[in-house]
């Protein structure tokens, strides 16, 4: 693996996506401001806006970084550079992940700080919010991986739909796990075995998605 080349590919995508990064950070900051500024209604609206900003920026990245590479015919340019299929995949996976982690980390840290710094918000929400933020990361990785493997707009759109439905189903299910629900609206942060297991399962899912993507890409016979 030529790490210098992969680094260059990531920096290239970072530069090309700079407005998405700035836009998602601005959207996240606005959502957090709404959350703390308008009481209970503001909290719910702000949270919905936060989730929307994260999901939208993740999906947007998958489309502009991966699907558009084929659609706008820049894939031939990239693949004519001295890179292998695996290096291209590593560049795309890491660029997607690292760029998304910028707004994701800012919004996760902002949300947790908000919960812990606001007495009116139950601190017991911390595990649930963390699990759901990581679920958004899982969904984003899922959309990115399908986009990389399929290079298809239709498949990517289908994955966005499945991912968004999946996010709501996971949110509902996690909130109804008895041990999680029992402490969710409590005054203290409780990381019980169920919360930790769910969190680990999410991280393993991300690892499996990446492994699958590299496996498929290394066997591809067509690149343009």
């Amino acid at each position: 693996m030529n790490y210098a080349m992969v680094r260059l590919l990531i920096l290239k995508d970072w530069y090309l996506q700079r407005w998405i990064i700035l836009g998602s950070l601005a959207g996240g900051a606005l959502a957090l401001a709404i959350t703390i500024s308008f009481g209970k209604a503001g909290f719910f609206i702000g949270m919905i806006l936060l989730v929307t900003v994260l999901i939208a920026s993740g999906d947007q990245l998958a489309f502009t970084l991966v699907v558009n590479e084929r659609k706008e015919k820049t894939l031939a340019f990239v693949m004519s550079l001295p890179i292998s299929a695996v290096e291209y995949t590593a560049g795309k996976v890491l660029a997607n992940l690292l760029i998304f982690l910028v707004p994701w980390t800012a919004i996760l840290v902002g949300s947790l700080t908000l919960i812990l710094a606001t007495p009116a918000i139950p601190h017991g929400l911390v595990p649930y919010v963390t699990i759901m933020c990581i679920e958004i990361l899982v969904t984003t990785c899922f959309v990115s991986c399908v986009a990389i493997v399929s290079e298809s707009q239709s498949w990517a759109i289908a994955t966005v739909i499945v991912g968004n439905v999946g996010f709501n189903v996971v949110g509902y299910c996690v909130a109804h796990v008895a041990s999680v629900a029992a402490t969710m609206f409590g005054p203290v942060v409780v990381w019980n075995p169920a919360s930790i297991t769910i969190l680990l399962a999410e991280l393993v899912t991300i690892a499996v998605l990446f492994a699958f993507t590299f496996y498929v890409q290394s066997r591809k016979t067509h690149f343009i």
Binding site: L16, E72, A76, F77, P82, H222, I224
Partner: protein, 299 residues
């Protein structure tokens, strides 16, 4: 592989649901310029993509600059410059940004030459690709490739869609590149005039097969169209290399791919009057070649 070959295809095939590239044998010597002529959908782009390692062949062997493809594509692509008609640069970035990117990847990047090409092609480095015309985009892509001095240039229909002035500029710059006798070029087009202008060997491809290959001068020397007046009762002799015979009344038009001045005497001896023996353009040779091969396949 012979040490002097830049490109060597041996029995290469690739099947798609509605198209198949079959049994491609291709040899391109280092320092030569090969024109790859074929109609749309003939298999030119597929062949070039296989050459670049972007598409894996189903069968056969491909070696490019001593590298087995697609396995050693990374090493090969360091020495190949590829420009394709359907290749685009990043709309959101400037030409200068692309130049910086390529400069970081290829140690042989020649900024002075790149600046010269920008001036020659009337490209403004600070301009975003989004605002470029098709001709400027092609010239930008070509500039990015030429300024890193690749050993092998693979140009897939680079002049398609260019206006006459842009075509003239692009071909002119390629002619200058040809002055470097170590540079090898594979140039595909369905425009025979472009190919004729810069190539020293020509390969015709049609329906996924190479139908003919040879040096440019020998094509022009050996292909002729003969117009004969054939009186009633006279039978034309069987001439070697006859590709097509058309008859309208007493008039006969024979096309041959292995013309010999002795053919004139043979026809005269048979009782026919040779009215003219015309040289053929590459376009005529190409069309005749394709049509006769298609006729044979259909028959």
């Amino acid at each position: 592989m012979t040490g002097n070959l830049a490109v060597h295809f041996e029995g290469v095939g690739k099947k798609y649901p509605h198209f198949a590239l079959e049994n491609i044998h291709l040899e391109l010597e280092q320092g030569s310029i090969m024109g790859f002529i074929g109609a749309n959908g003939a298999g030119k782009s597929t062949t070039m993509r296989i050459l670049m390692g972007l598409v894996r062949q189903d069968c056969g062997a491909v070696e490019v600059l001593g590298h087995s493809m697609p396995e050693e594509q990374v090493a090969a692509k360091r020495e190949i410059g590829f420009v394709s008609e359907d290749m685009r640069l990043y709309d959101g970035a400037t030409i200068a940004w692309h130049m910086q990117l390529i400069g970081k990847i290829y140690p042989a990047w020649d900024q002075t030459y790149a600046d010269h090409l920008c001036r020659h092609f009337d490209l403004k480095p600070q301009q975003k690709v989004k605002g470029l015309s098709h001709g400027q985009r092609v010239k930008s892509a070509l500039m990015l490739v030429l300024a890193r001095h690749p050993r092998l240039l693979v140009l897939d229909e680079p002049t398609t869609g260019l206006d006459p002035v842009a075509r003239h500029e692009v071909l002119g710059e390629l002619m200058k590149v040809l002055a470097d006798e170590h540079r090898t070029i594979l140039f595909s087009s369905h425009n025979t005039l472009d190919v004729e202008q810069i190539s020293d060997t020509i390969t015709f491809v049609d329906w996924g097969r190479i139908i003919d290959s040879g040096d440019k001068e020998s094509y022009l020397d050996s292909w002729r169209r003969m117009r004969l007046d054939v009186p009633p009762g006279v039978t034309l002799p069987s001439l070697p290399g006859t590709i097509a015979t058309e008859r309208v009344g007493r008039m006969a038009v024979l096309t041959t791919c292995s013309f010999d001045p002795a053919m004139t005497a043979l026809c005269r001896d048979a009782g026919a009057n040779m009215q003219s023996v015309d040289r053929m353009t590459f376009e005529e040779i190409f069309i005749q070649n394709v049509e006769s091969r298609r006729d044979r396949v259909i028959a």
